[in-house]
């Protein structure tokens, strides 16, 4: 079940230091929406607030599923995950499992059907459950281009491959809303291109994606619309091209407007 998101008036300060102020953001169901901004602009804090890792000081976070509107601001992270919101972390954060496949399987936790007793006794339902999630996770690893590495040790992978395992792990819960925080961090250009392709594929499959990313090219290639943050404030919103053209965004990213740079 694909889901949308509506955020309004979100503010957050850490020890009096403002991280977000009155931020609004709408992610229509089935879209890829960008959350852009330079270093320290508050993207990750906003992602943490949406996923329940951080409590906002003020504001609303609403999850929209098939005409239903549910306030999720301030709910525990595991509850929000249970509602179909999955995320990737800027620093990937794999879990030291024995294999790449296990790293992805743990992502299917919210879909488990077998009771613990069934798993203990190895009942048919538990075995079927296990088989299905294995099959699904293999498919996901194929999708992210790691079909040949299912049995590899996660720490034997390159950073880019690990980032893709993180995405497969998030997809394993069949999320209605997928939030990617800085997926292109530290990736080479060709890997960013692979990731872009993957996100476009997800969009085609109807997955709603919120892409919190600094990389302007990736945002331009993937997103239908984008919200730009700077120092915790929303400075622009609209199509990527329109946003890139605004003076505020150019100043935030380059310290000057395009016209100013051209004049130099």
């Amino acid at each position: 079940m694909t889901a949308g998101l509506e955020i309004s008036g979100i503010s957050k300060a850490f020890d009096g230091e403002r991280a977000l102020e009155d931020v609004a953001l709408t992610v229509p169901a089935g879209s890829v929406t960008g959350l852009m901004g330079p270093n320290g602009s508050g993207k990750s804090v906003l992602v943490d607030i949406i996923t329940g890792q951080t409590r906002p000081d003020a504001g609303r976070v609403q999850l929209l599923t098939e005409g239903d509107r549910q306030e999720i601001g301030g709910l525990p992270a595991e509850t929000i995950a249970g509602l179909g919101v999955a995320r990737c972390w800027a620093d990937v954060r794999l879990l030291g499992m024995a294999s790449v496949l296990d790293e992805v399987l743990v992502g299917a936790y919210t879909l488990r059907q077998a009771s613990i007793l069934g798993s203990m006794l190895g009942l048919g339902a538990a075995r079927r459950d296990q088989r299905e999630s294995l099959e699904n996770c293999r498919q996901l690893l194929n999708l992210v281009g790691l079909g040949a590495r299912t049995q590899s040790r996660p720490d034997a992978l390159s950073h880019g491959e690990r980032a893709r395992v993180g995405i497969a792990r998030a997809l394993a819960s069949d999320p209605g809303l997928l939030i990617l925080d800085g997926p292109a961090n530290g990736l080479a250009a060709e890997e960013v291109a692979l990731l872009t392709d993957l996100i476009l594929g997800l969009k085609a499959a109807g997955v709603t994606v919120l892409l919190a990313e600094r990389n302007m090219k990736m945002i331009a290639d993937c997103c239908d619309s984008v919200v730009v943050l700077n120092a915790g404030r929303r400075i622009a919103a609209g199509s990527p091209a329109d946003c890139f053209a605004t003076a505020a965004v150019q100043r935030a990213y380059f310290g000057a407007t395009a016209a100013g740079i051209a004049a130099c």
Binding site: T2, G52, Q53, A77, E78, A81, G82, A86, R87, W89, R93, L95, G96, M97, D102, V106, G107, A108, Y109, T110, L111, R112, Q113, A114, I116, S119, M120, A126, R128, D129, Q130, R131, E132, S133, E135, N136, Q139, L140, N142, L143, G145, G147, A148, R153, D155, A156, S158, G160, E161, L171, S173, D174, E191, L194, D197, G201, A204, A205, G206, V207
Partner: protein, 327 residues
């Protein structure tokens, strides 16, 4: 020849029974270690189960019933302990479990009707060692099953990164509760096996040094494979049970030394299936030069084999679509 064999099996029965009991207790330690809690709470559950089993056997009930009841009592007590421990950070849960073991001795003396007081309870006859092996086999089966289940993976996630685990929808109280319950079940079987092997239960049996022994076996075997605690128990308990008197100062000294050495020099234990693949990975890493490419598009499956179940996903369509042309 036959006589020699019978002698040998009679002589080995007690050491092997003890090893089975210790392996189960070590498995209970590992069960909590899996969620990042260094605790011997399972050994305390073993004490409860051991006393219960001794009482049942004295009342004339069969060993099978004693094992069943001991396991269930251990599981129940584990859940009770989890309820108390849930608020505490892992290290404090560990300390609390030591304090709990310290309670066994005075409690046994305070409840002489049930525990036999200072002398403990002696069974009329020592049941065959086979029962301890059955308990061990059940424990190993349980550990193997749990390892590959959603519970096993959720436990690792919780141990490694609580924030990521929460982000995956893993409820800490539920997983912690189950881990305590299973530690209690395994510890309960371990306690019953210990009582069966000894043919008696006494307050000194479930001491902190027994907890330390279980910890040593679990640490030596390593937390990364369900056979680890059994291997650890075989290496630590079997030799000392064959050679030394029970509870001798030398054994206690050796065990303490082993724990110390393990914690310092071999924190991962002997049995870490990830080591060999890690070595291979390092070798591969050295060979690899360029950024690895994605798998060829043609490798992607055209069709999911299973159609029903909860894992049906919207991605099916995308996988199919993307299977057709180059990315």
């Amino acid at each position: 020849m036959m006589e020699w064999l019978t002698d040998l099996s009679a002589n080995l029965a007690t050491p092997l029974g003890l090893t089975a009991a210790m392996a189960l207790l070590a498995m209970s330690v590992r069960c909590l270690w899996a969620v990042g809690v260094p605790s011997v709470a399972g050994v305390a559950c073993g004490a409860l189960a051991g006393y219960l089993a001794a009482n049942m056997l004295q009342a004339g009930l069969s060993v099978a019933w004693a094992l069943l009841a001991g396991g269930l009592a251990g599981f129940w007590f584990g859940l009770v302990l989890a309820w108390g421990a849930a608020r505490l950070p892992p290290a404090w849960q560990g300390l609390a479990s030591l304090a709990l073991l310290g309670l066994v001795l005075p409690l046994a003396r305070l409840l002489p009707d049930w525990t036999g007081g200072r002398e403990g309870l002696a069974l009329d006859s020592t049941p065959p060692a086979l029962w301890s092996f059955i308990a061990l086999a059940l424990g190993l089966l349980l550990a193997a099953r749990l390892e590959g289940s959603w519970f096993g993976r959720a436990a690792i996630a919780l141990r490694q990164d609580a924030a990521v685990a929460a982000g995956l929808g893993i409820q800490r109280p539920a997983i912690l509760g189950l881990a305590y319950g299973f530690a209690g079940l395994l510890g309960g079987w371990g306690g019953v096996a210990l009582v069966l092997t000894r043919g008696a239960v006494a307050p000194g049996m479930f001491s902190t040094s027994l907890g330390l022994l279980a910890l040593a076996a679990a640490l030596l075997g390593g937390a990364y494979h369900w056979l680890g605690p059994w291997l650890g128990a075989m290496l630590i308990v079997l030799p000392s049970a064959l050679v030394l008197d029970e509870g001798s100062a030398i054994q206690d000294f050796a065990v303490a030394l082993v724990v110390l050495a393990l914690v310092i020099f071999l924190p991962r234990g002997l049995l870490d299936p990830r080591d060999s693949s890690r070595r291979a990975a390092r070798a591969r890493h050295r060979q690899r030069s360029a950024v690895p490419a994605m798998a060829p598009v043609d490798d992607r499956p055209r069709r999911r084999r299973s159609s029903g179940g909860p894992h049906r996903s919207r991605l099916d369509a995308a996988i199919k679509r993307r299977g057709g042309g180059p990315a």
